[in-house]
């Protein structure tokens, strides 16, 4: 007799797995099944799910079974992914942003000195994301461009003005806590 819960249990596993799930892996999660029981449950799940849920399907791919959106829906998915703002920053970009936020207006050579690393490409990323802007040139030899944070920066970080940025002294205790 087929365990009536088995197809649903399989679905939960397929959904939560980051990769296609193989029969062998499923065998480990559901030990003690009769020969062919797993395959039967999977077949039933696939036919039920693929019939009931129009937008998704359970497919057999190279590595095993997985749930995917159906090709007909790729356009909407793509449209959605495009609307997602990528406010995410790499660690080097974050570090450069921190130097600019706390030392502005600041020039590239100064940023380099503080970070100890060339920062040209991260500057470009931050300019593209409109988190920083140029602030004229410094009146010294070479007249390097100065950078500062933008209004967008304040909005993104929920700050009314720059004075709302916490200072290192204020956060000393919190930052000194090691986990």
């Amino acid at each position: 007799m087929l365990n009536p819960e088995l197809p649903s249990q399989l679905l939960a596993v397929l959904f939560a797995s980051p990769e296609p799930v193989t029969l062998a892996e499923l065998g480990e999660v559901f030990p003690g099944l009769e020969d062919g029981e797993l395959e039967k449950a999977l077949d039933q799940l696939r036919s039920d799910f693929n019939r009931q849920v129009q937008a998704l399907e359970i497919r057999k791919v190279a590595g095993g079974f997985r749930i995917t959106t159906r090709p007909e829906y790729h356009d909407v998915v793509r449209a959605y992914l495009k609307t997602r703002p990528s406010a995410k920053l790499s660690l080097p970009a974050l570090e450069t942003l921190a130097v600019i936020a706390y030392k502005q207006p600041v020039t590239l050579p100064e940023i380099m000195d503080i970070r100890g690393i060339k920062s040209t490409s991260t500057i470009r990323t931050l300019l593209e994301k409109k988190l920083i802007e140029t602030r004229g040139r410094k009146k010294v030899v070479g007249r390097p461009i100065m950078y500062g944070t933008t209004r967008e920066f304040l909005v993104h970080f929920g700050l009314e003005d720059l004075s709302e940025l916490p200072t290192l002294e204020e956060f000393q205790e919190i930052l000194a806590e090691t986990e």
Partner: protein, 244 residues
């Protein structure tokens, strides 16, 4: 750690040593576990039990937060006030006696509400930890490792950088050769750690003559670049170097 010994002779109760996050937690435990009326706390008894707990902790060499000691003195203060006869309040018509315990009671009740709210969050978390979203693919996991940055991420990045050059500064003092460029970088980093410092620290650091001279040249360069200001508070005061 569990103490299997009753702390007070007048009540057979046990104190579980590891649960008290603060003095309010301990007090609430003493009151609730003995089913005392929180609106009419027997302050002498509670104070004794509280102090015994502190003494016990000391015996066991367990360091308690300073807040525990502050509360001890508060309790003793309330206790002494309770012993005084109520002050006559001739002028006040509705001259009600102000209970010295009132403020503490209010604080305890407020604290208790949040303890209960924490329990609610705990059970919600338990339920939530038993459900999963769609398994994230490699690409999404990678994206997740990028920081969707908050103010805290910014200040943490800055903090870690500052910590990094604190180490560097120590190292560079030791090196044999030195250039003005190196010193410029070093000074800029120092100014990031501290917006202002005293000129004399260069002498205190016991650096070599060569380092000192190069440092002075770099410092003058920074003045010229208008990155720092030098100023003196009084005639024979130390010169201070401040970021512009």
């Amino acid at each position: 750690m569990q103490l299997d010994r009753a702390l007070a002779e007048d009540a057979a109760y046990h104190v579980n040593l590891d649960v008290f996050e603060g003095p309010l937690d301990l007090l609430l435990h003493l009151i609730r576990s003995q089913e005392l009326d929180i609106y009419d706390i027997p302050i002498a008894r509670i104070t004794d039990q509280y102090l015994q707990y502190l003494a016990r902790m000391e015996e066991l060499n367990i360091a308690l937060a300073a807040e525990f000691v502050v509360m001890a003195s508060t309790l003793i203060f309330i206790k002494s006030k309770m012993l005084l006869p109520a002050e006559p309040r001739g002028q006040e018509e509705d001259g009600e006696w102000e209970d010295p315990r009132a403020e503490l009671v209010e604080q305890l009740l407020e604290h208790e509400k949040f303890k209960n709210a924490a329990q609610m969050l705990f059970s919600r978390e338990t339920v939530e930890l038993s459900v999963w979203g769609r398994g994230e693919n490699e690409f999404e996991q990678e994206e997740k490792e990028m920081v969707s940055a908050t103010v805290f991420d910014v200040i943490k990045a800055f903090h870690l950088m500052v910590e990094r050059f604190k180490e560097q500064i120590v190292l560079e003092v030791e090196s044999e050769t030195v250039t003005v460029e190196q010193k410029l970088g070093e000074l800029r980093r120092m100014l990031t750690v501290q917006r202002e410092f005293r000129f004399s620290i260069f002498f205190e650091k016991r650096i070599s003559r060569l380092h000192l001279i190069v440092t002075l040249i770099a410092l003058l360069e920074l003045v010229r670049l208008r990155e720092v200001r030098l100023h003196q508070v009084g005639l024979f005061e130390d010169i201070r170097i401040a970021a512009c």
